[in-house]
């Protein structure tokens, strides 16, 4: 990790310097539209070398999967194969305009179609739309589908969405965006949805339940069949948050178990990179009954030809064009590289890695619910008998060359450290991480200051987030 701070691009700007080149004007000039033009544009002025050094330096100030272990629970920070990047840069696939005639984009449509088919087979759903751009977008699509379904049946009194208290924040937010109210369902002692509490909320105003399975505690919802049945009985639908699908590849198909609609995170399960925040891709899969409501367009095969169609009762477009196509190429590549056996091996090893790490970590950092976990587990990150909290441990891990786990989520676990090793990390890396936690645990007793002031090897130390929020500086002021 580079330690020197890097000036802002504006601060290395110098009037008249330039990186770009452009063809010279080869047509007659037209008068600029008087009164419409801008007077100035204060963008930076740098040479190409300035530019290259600046962004190279910045890159060296990031932890990333390519450089460090990144056990960020709920995020599935698994290795992103380089063949994906190669695939997604094939010019015959990238240099294609979304509004070209269909006959000129048959290759791209074929890829979309085949990815839809593969996701159907993996998940057990009847139909897929690749349009949503991320998980939350997929959730939104899903909730809108549930809404449209009920509306289409004239069932207009359904206004509340049930959401377990362990759910990701996007679940309630997506429900609210669709105009619904949210009812929180508590978890029981084993980390499952509290079935009694659920039943109490089940009536004819229920739009549906948003269920994350495995849930954000990393636990398989043991009563999933009953949960689905309960919801269905009251006329609701079950939405599956597929963020944690990595644990289930080839292990079980959510669509078979009573889930009516689910989003995938191609950027988690299917190795498309996270890009420091995005882009992702959040396809949504549905049962036969909900298929007509999918957002469109989706790809269909018609003899030898592929074409785009809008489902009959579609909720409409969720974004322009067809989704994050560049991510489709990567996900498709990955699925083809793994094959059916490989996908199952992914889930098996993801779960094996998580349980192994849990076994090593939980004696010092006890897990919230002591069950066999799926792809991740949640520990309490504070150290009993000291004033060390999860945040300290998370920050101190950075000094040991590991990224911190997700922390303080799920909200129902105090001092949560949510650890998802993923299947692409080796036993050696897991051992190294467990060793680091062990050392940190004893540092907590012997030298807690080291933890409170961590990290120490980074270009900046702990940052003043309070001031950042109180007096926000969101742009370079010059």
């Amino acid at each position: 990790m580079r330690k020197q701070l890097e000036p802002l691009i504006f601060e290395i700007s110098s009037p008249g310097r330039m990186a770009y080149t452009l063809p010279s004007l080869d047509v007659s000039e037209t008068d600029l539209p008087e009164g419409y033009t801008r007077a100035q544009l204060k963008l930076p002025e740098v040479s190409e070398l300035d530019f290259v050094r600046h962004y190279t330096h910045l890159s060296q100030m990031n932890y990333s999967i390519d450089t460090e272990f990144y056990p960020l629970g709920s995020c599935t920070m698994k290795y992103n194969p380089k063949v994906n990047e190669k695939a997604a840069s094939i010019e015959g696939l990238t240099h294609v305009h979304p509004l070209q005639p269909e006959a000129t984009v048959q290759g791209s449509l074929e890829l979309i179609y085949k990815l839809q088919e593969a996701l159907k087979e993996i998940s057990g759903f009847a139909s897929i739309s690749l349009q949503p751009a991320a998980g939350a977008h997929g959730e939104f699509a899903g909730v809108l589908i549930m809404r449209a379904y009920h509306m289409s049946r004239g069932d207009e009194k359904r206004t509340k969405v049930l959401i377990p208290d362990s759910a990701h924040g996007t679940n309630p937010a997506s429900s609210a965006m669709s105009g619904f109210s949210v009812v929180e369902i508590p978890s029981d002692k084993r980390g499952n949805v509290d079935l009694d509490a659920l039943k109490r909320e089940c009536d004819d105003t229920v739009v549906g339940l948003m269920l994350t399975n495995p849930n954000t505690l990393g636990l398989y919802e043991e009563q999933v069949l009953e949960v689905c049945e309960t919801i269905h009985t009251c006329g609701g639908l079950v939405y599956g948050d597929g963020a944690n699908l990595n644990a289930l590849l080839g292990i079980t198909k959510p669509g078979d178990q009573g889930i009516d609609v689910m989003h995938f995170n191609l950027h988690k399960t299917f190795t498309t990179p996270h890009g420091g925040g995005g882009p992702g891709s959040g396809p949504v899969g549905v049962s036969e009954e909900l298929a007509p409501f999918l957002p469109g367009p989706i790809a269909e095969k018609d003899g030898d030809l592929y074409r785009l169609v809008i489902p009959e009762k579609s909720i409409g477009r969720l974004k322009s064009f067809y989704g994050n196509y560049g991510m489709f190429i990567r996900a498709y590549t990955y699925i083809r590289m793994m094959g059916p056996d490989g996908l199952r091996a992914v889930a098996e090893n993801a779960v094996l890695n998580a349980n192994y790490l849990k076994a090593k970590v939980s004696p010092l950092f006890p897990v919230a619910v002591d069950r066999s976990c799926m792809h991740e587990f949640v520990s309490h990150g504070d150290v009993a008998g000291t004033d060390v909290i999860a945040l300290d441990v998370a920050k101190r891990l950075l000094d040991y060359g590991h990224h911190s786990p997700t922390n303080y989520f799920p909200l129902i676990v105090h001092d949560a450290l949510m650890i998802e090793p993923t299947e692409t990390e080796s036993k050696e890396t897991l051992d190294d991480f467990a060793d680091a936690l062990e050392k940190i645990h004893s540092e907590a007793h012997n030298n807690p200051e080291l933890l409170h002031s961590a990290p120490h090897i980074t270009p900046v130390f702990r940052l003043d987030e309070a001031t950042a929020a109180r007096k926000p500086v969101l742009c370079y002021k010059g």
Binding site: A19, K319, H403, C475
Partner: protein
């Protein structure tokens, strides 16, 4: 052995022993047995060289903008991407990082995002920019939602200009299906800005216009913001194509409250429609109603400057159902690319490329206009897209153009029933005079 899995058999045995179980299958016993270990009917695993072969094969079934002179825009623009941009944006440390939740080890992403925000603020003339939405269309929908929030839910009407990209208006309607919201203005696809203004009232949350509009026309924006603000509403401007801002007055200058745009032209390439970039900018006074992530400047414990995600109480992970938006994963890497593109082009580059597009587009328009049977509609006030009245159906013309190595313009009739035989032509710095002359020659043959 499947790729990317480092667990050797020996590793697995040791790990099972530590866990205290005999087999990996035991880990899945909580899954209802009837549904456990289904077979997956998928093609067998391909090796790396086989999958690339397969994809190159698919690529051959596409006609690409690399091989065809491309005159289609309509929301996605074929601009040149300087080689340095993808070279750097492709570095593993940027590509394989997550959202910068641990700022101390994410200063690269954070600072780049802060710079992106700053450059977009300058480009749009606005004060605050978020770290991206999914694309221009979803940015516009979020802007509408934000307008409601600014009005604390007391205004339920959104006026949209019919000359906004049709797909953007469709997305808006998907995002706001509720009967309680009234989306209006584009029932009459020929409604003018004056018509829209006349619809403003105390129930209006915002008025949304696109400038240049979907037909490429520069809008007469004088007095627009004043009228909107008079009604207590917000002015939302869709600033597409974003390259126009190299030349044209930024919406911030004429009073926009929210500016959204499609950021794809800023270095992201066409990619058959995605990943693109939702640009979203607003005023500091509305910052707490803004959706999306924001990067802010601060200092560390030693006083050194650093960057963090800030004002997160607007976001879903804190506020859950009360959040300003449900967005979580955004289009970070595309925003990084856009920031890089703006830094690379810089002050004079953005102006120069905009002027080059402008001059070439106007040259193309005047050449086409000279052709018998073709007529350019409103030939003066456009940036780099213009509408041509053709002698035949556009789809038919485009087929012939294809045979001549040309990807023709957008068929307006698809979304505007009145625009019979009208083609929307787009010209960028990638269309040199030779290409333009080839286009006019081919068109004249068809006439």
């Amino acid at each position: 052995m499947p790729p990317y899995l480092p667990q050797t058999e020996e590793d697995q045995l040791a790990m099972l022993e530590t866990i205290g179980i005999q087999s990996v299958e035991e880990l899945f016993e909580e899954i209802p047995e009837a549904y456990r270990f289904p077979s997956l009917n998928l093609p067998r695993a391909a090796s790396e060289l086989e999958i690339l072969d397969e994809l190159y094969g698919m690529a051959l079934k596409n006609s690409t903008t690399g091989c065809f002179a491309t005159f289609i825009g309509a929301g996605a623009y074929n601009h040149f991407v300087p080689s340095a941009v993808p070279y750097l944006a492709g570095r593993g440390e940027f590509v394989t990082a997550y959202t910068p939740y641990q700022p101390e080890v994410s200063q690269g992403t954070l600072q780049a995002m802060f710079e992106y925000q700053s450059m977009i603020a300058e480009l749009t003339g606005m004060e605050v920019v978020n770290a991206s939405h999914y694309d221009g269309a979803t940015s516009m929908a979020e802007a509408a939602i934000m307008s409601f929030n600014v009005a604390r839910g007391k205004r339920r009407k959104i006026i949209v200009s019919p000359s906004i990209h049709p797909q953007y208006r469709q997305v808006l309607r998907t995002y706001l299906p509720s009967e309680q919201v009234q989306i209006t203005g584009d029932e009459d696809l020929t409604a003018s800005l004056e018509d829209l203004k006349s619809m403003l009232d105390m129930d209006t949350a915002c008025l949304i216009v696109q400038n240049p509009d979907f037909f490429g026309q520069l809008q007469e924006v004088d007095g627009l913001a004043e009228a909107v603000h008079e009604a207590g509403a917000l002015l939302v401007v869709v600033a597409n194509p974003i390259h126009s801002l190299g030349l044209i007055k930024p919406p911030g200058e004429y009073g926009a409250d929210i500016v959204v745009a499609e950021g794809q032209p800023l270095g992201a390439g066409l990619n058959f429609g995605g990943p693109y970039l939702g640009v979203f900018a607003s005023r500091m006074k509305f910052v707490r109603q803004m959706p999306g992530r924001l990067v802010g400047e601060t200092v560390d414990t030693e006083g050194k400057r650093g960057y963090v995600l800030t004002l997160s109480p607007r976001e879903q992970h804190i506020r859950r159902e009360k959040a300003t938006s449900n967005i979580c994963t955004n289009q970070g890497l595309v925003a990084l690319i856009a920031g890089m593109y703006l830094a690379y082009m810089g002050k004079s580059g953005m102006r120069d490329v905009a002027e080059l597009c402008y001059h070439r587009a106007h040259y193309a328009a005047s050449e086409v206009d000279r052709l018998e049977n073709y007529k350019v509609k409103s030939p003066d006030l456009f940036f780099n897209e213009f509408v041509v009245q053709c002698p035949k159906p556009v789809a038919q013309i485009n087929e012939t153009l294809l045979e001549n190595g040309i990807l023709g313009g957008y068929d307006l009739q698809k979304e505007y029933p009145n625009a019979k035989d009208q083609m929307l032509i787009c010209v960028t710095e990638l269309n040199d005079r030779t290409q333009i002359d080839k286009l006019t020659a081919a068109l004249s043959e068809i006439a």
